[in-house]
């Protein structure tokens, strides 16, 4: 009787432990409060890696004004910074931002577990997707196409840097707002033979 009770008492915590591990591993953790002086474009601290959106209205950058390295998004027209909830995370190093046409999508490099990965943040859903999990070799310097469908980046899996282009697929929501003439092209896409 007692042994049976003891077994039942342990089963619950174990499942919670599994869940807890899953939650921790998933990285979907609490938002980081944004410290630092965001009243002006430049700060007393280093502000680097500017990336203009295709329409020229928005600017992403890497800033140290919050006492840590963060990505920030600046609206040039309104001369103020915008919120990017859940992009900057407590234990993650972020850098190398790139914006789509109206800054709907932000491609950037994030390093949480020791390997820099390329991530894609959607400002509409406020969620991020990891693009290079499982990629062989190092990756860096993402550049997202203005329509947001393609992400070019450097890949080092052949022992040197090569340019690769990731196609997010034809069903992604394209960033067409305020598109410039000559934007929006048909791309020929052939399946990767790997």
């Amino acid at each position: 009787m007692r042994a049976g009770e003891a077994k039942k008492a342990w089963r619950v915590p174990r499942n919670i432990v599994v869940l807890g591990i899953a939650m921790a591993v998933s990285g979907c953790v609490a938002p980081l409060p944004q410290a630092g002086d965001y009243s002006r474009l430049n700060s007393r601290f280093s502000d680097t890696e500017p990336a203009l959106s295709g329409n020229g209205r928005f600017l992403a950058m890497v800033t140290n004004r919050g006492g840590r390295q963060d990505l920030a998004l600046y609206d040039i027209q309104q001369q103020r910074f915008l919120e990017i909830p859940r992009l900057n995370r407590r234990n993650a190093l972020v850098e190398s931002p790139s914006l789509s046409r109206s800054a709907r999508y932000i491609a950037y490099v994030v390093n949480e577990r020791g390997r820099p990965e390329i991530a894609l943040y959607d400002r509409v859903t406020q969620r991020r997707q990891m693009l290079t999990n499982g990629f062989r070799g190092p990756v860096r310097n993402p550049s997202i196409s203005p329509d947001g469908r393609y992400v070019a980046f450097e890949s080092g899996r052949r022992g040197q840097w090569d340019i690769e282009v990731f196609d997010r697929g034809a069903s992604v929501q394209l960033d067409q707002v305020g598109g410039a003439p000559g934007g929006g092209i048909e791309q020929e896409v052939t399946p990767n033979a790997q």
Binding site: L41, E49, L52, F153, D167
Partner: protein, 182 residues
């Protein structure tokens, strides 16, 4: 209520696996694939040499490549799947880097180091020449980023020993924004 949930999880582990999968998959990347572009020394996007600092401008992709034996900016047309010549851009006396191409492929902003000076240049294909956007700035500059129309260029500038972000127009004039270096 919560204790009932725990009881259910505990009794059959019913909810645990789906919930765990939910948390794990909610951050997983999309099912995409790599586009297969030509990879060769002649006109490929990538080559057997170092290719880096890529900028995806939509139809055109700009990059820095060592395939011609020196560090040069190349422009790849995704429609014709070939390189576009850039007469007057790459020069013997300039180290070029970090290109940014407009949507129509007519303008390329890039960083250049010449005679010990670093500057941000705006190359115009039709004119076969580059304009120095930072001529009046006697300080280190680097890493330009250009808008689709080629009318705006942001870059880093050394202000009092620290990198700051500058936003200029295509004529080399800083936008009227507080703390914009000029």
């Amino acid at each position: 209520m919560l204790s009932k949930v725990f009881e259910l999880m505990g009794r059959k582990g019913v909810l645990t696996l789906p919930l765990a999968l939910f948390f794990l998959t909610s951050c997983v990347g999309p099912a995409g694939r790599l586009v297969r572009y030509p990879n060769n020394d002649r006109g490929g996007l990538s080559s057997p040499h170092d290719d880096r600092e890529v900028h995806h401008g939509g139809r055109y992709i700009a990059l820095v490549s060592d395939r011609r034996g020196r560090q040069e900016i190349e422009l790849f047309d995704t429609r014709s799947r070939n390189l576009i010549p850039l007469p007057g851009l790459n020069r013997q006396d300039t180290v070029v880097s970090h290109p940014s191409v407009s949507a129509d492929g007519q303008f390329i902003a890039y960083g250049g180091v010449r005679d010990g000076r670093s500057d941000i240049y705006l190359y115009r294909r039709a004119r076969r020449e580059s304009r120095n956007l930072t001529q009046r700035l006697n300080t280190a500059v680097r890493n330009p980023s250009m808008s689709e129309r080629g009318d705006r260029v942001a870059f880093e500038v050394n202000v009092n020993g620290q990198w700051e972000v500058a936003i200029y127009d295509q004529n080399g004039r800083p936008l009227n924004i507080p703390t914009n270096p000029r």
